[in-house]
Amino acid sequence: MTEQLLSVRDPLLSVRDLRVSYQVGRNFVHAVDGASFDVPRGSITGLVGESGCGKTTVARALTRVIAENATISGGQIMFDGKDLAKIPEKEMNALRWRDIAFVPQSAMNSLDPVYTVEYQLGEVLRRRGGMNRKRAGARSEVLFEMVGIDRGRLSDYPHQFSGGMRQRVAIALALALDPKLIIADEPVTALDVIVQRQILDQLKELQTRLGISVILVTHDISVVAYICDRTVVMYAGKVAESGTMHQTLTAPSHPYSMGLRNAFPDLQGAASGILTPIEGAPPNLANPPAGCRFKPRCPFALDICGSEPPVIDVAPGHPVLCHRASESASLRIEAAKTETWMGKVGMNQMETARA
């Protein structure tokens, strides 16, 4: 079944050359600078990267809920035959909740503390879904059952729920009108490991049962390994690499993805394993380095990396934005060694530190 959905023939969502910029004073910060990827039907796609690499901006741009000083300055977001980057706001608004729903990073912030959870669910169901009070009430009970909360707790206020429960409520809200796509921004980041696992299991179960697609924004590749079918690795506003979860995690082909893999502790791995950080920080996007943006931190950078890197398919459906993508198999061997990453940055670290 997985093999089937991984050939992206008829994607639910297809993003091409997406650009989003923030105006800061007189400058423009190109937070997303030409991102392209597909989201297959009935799958979970992980959008991975460090803070400040543009993954949340991409997620928000897909629903066009972006900051006031941000604009979608180019590209296409094809969803169900419509270009979400271009359709009028009224049409976009009709799609939100019904077709695309958003689970924000902190569930506490997405729920209004002065209304009961039932009221907030009801509001979406009545105003967005056109249901009457009775149907909305019945649907709320179904939704609570789906996310595994006792229906008796519908009349509780957000503060009466634990962090994990609140995240379940946020998922129930997103599912309210049967959307085709759910975008979840770091849904488990603030949670304990056990609760995290329970929420991920629930999300996976619902995604499979309802046949919907999920975009999961996360910085944690263990979460990607646990639950995702596809991976989109972002770095400094660009897609560094995308492919099936297996391709990107077992054969990472962009040096950044290789570095991320080294930085993760593996509970099942050898005890003597040393974690290797990627020194430095993502570049300031108001003034990104010329050519490959990972160059200042990359242990494999050559002179050619000062020019714009090409997108190379290392395998079908596995595009990589790197001059040396064709050598990825041998680079991977080098990247697994700690000394490869040591002392690369030094001086550069100062310049690239986020101001």
Binding site: I194, P265, P277
Partner: protein
């Protein structure tokens, strides 16, 4: 402090420590509702000099409260904690300064732990000033501390402000501040949870390196066993204010004994797509610290609970290299 005749092998000794917080106030008391949360409830362990111990558990298990008790940031409700032979509750205010220079806290969130209006120089001068280090020596000590935490070219950071530093750099400054008075003992409370994974590894490596070089005794508080394993040779698992299991980290990772530890180990996601996952061996529902179950506090989520678990509080018992508080053992 008394002059110890002979330095004992044990630096910190915790005996039946309790920390109870009153909650709900007078009205709840009148209605007969429980008015204390037992954040730490009868915890005992020793930490040897130079040992690194992980305190592992979910939010609300009492691990942070335990850490604060060890640093005398909270007044103990019952039991005792000895630091270097001295009972903490008997340390007088005047002597507290001396204790503080020996035992330090590394905070969780570097963005909150440092005053945004203080330059890095001012941030690091403050503890030196409090300890009465003369002005002429301070700059030198600050540079040395920043070198210790591997901030390259530390001099150029002195006049910067926190917002000009990245999270990883800032967490190193937080570490430098904790280490600048050369403590013997540090408590690190989830020191990398606010950092990006790519910089986490660097901060953890610095922590390991500094600990080994200074021979520090350390407590590392976290809910993530993968992180604890990276820095601690021994792990204490807590649940609702009590110790469930205490032993060598590798044994706990590979063969968890207590049912709660089993769940914690199973829940840690692994960055390997081929790893199979068993269903979580734990019941739903967050523990309510105001109303813990009778007997074993874990029994309402435990897949192996039986009649005895409700009746009798399991005491920690030695099982091989470990202590386990469970009636199954």
């Amino acid at each position: 402090m008394n002059i110890a005749t002979k330095k004992s092998d044990v630096l910190v000794s915790v005996h039946d420590a309790k920390l109870h917080y009153p909650v709900g106030g007078a009205f709840a008391a009148m209605r007969g509702k429980s008015t204390v949360v037992k954040a730490v409830d009868g915890v005992s362990f020793d930490i040897r000099r130079g040992e690194s111990v992980g305190l592992l558990g979910e939010s609300g298990c009492g691990k942070t409260s335990m850490g604060r008790l060890l640093l005398k940031l909270e007044d103990i409700t019952g039991g005792s904690i000895h630091f270097d032979g001295e009972e903490l509750s008997k340390v007088q205010r005047k002597e507290l300064k001396n204790f503080r220079s020996k035992a330090q806290l590394i905070f969780q969130n570097p963005f909150d732990a440092i005053n945004p209006r203080f330059s890095i120089r001012a941030t690091l001068s403050e503890p030196l000033e409090n300890a009465g280090i003369p002005k002429s020596e301070r700059e030198d000590r600050i540079i040395k501390a920043l070198e210790l935490v591997k901030l390259p070219e530390p001099a150029q950071f002195l006049d910067r402000y926190p917002h000009q530093l990245s999270g990883g750099q800032l967490q190193r400054v937080v570490m430098a501040r904790a280490l600048i008075l050369q403590p013997e003992f540090v408590v690190a409370d989830e020191p990398v949870s606010m950092l990006d994974v790519s910089v986490r590894a660097g901060v953890l490596n610095v922590f390991r390196d500094v600990r080994d070089r200074l021979g520090l005794t350390a407590i590392y508080i976290s809910h993530d066993l993968a992180l604890v394993r990276y820095v601690c040779e021994r792990t204490i698992v807590m649940y609702l204010g009590r110790i469930m299991e205490d032993g060598p980290t590798e044994d706990i990772v590979h063969d968890p004994l207590h049912p709660y530890t089993k769940a914690l180990v199973a829940a840690v996601p692994v960055p390997n797509p081929d790893q199979s996952h068993d269903p979580l061996p734990i019941g739903r529902g967050a523990p309510d610290p105001r109303n813990p179950p009778s007997g074993c506090v874990f029994r309402d989520r435990c897949p192996a609970a039986h009649a005895r678990c409700a009746a009798e509080v399991p005491q920690p018992r030695p099982v091989g290299s470990r202590l386990v508080a469970c009636h199954l053992f």
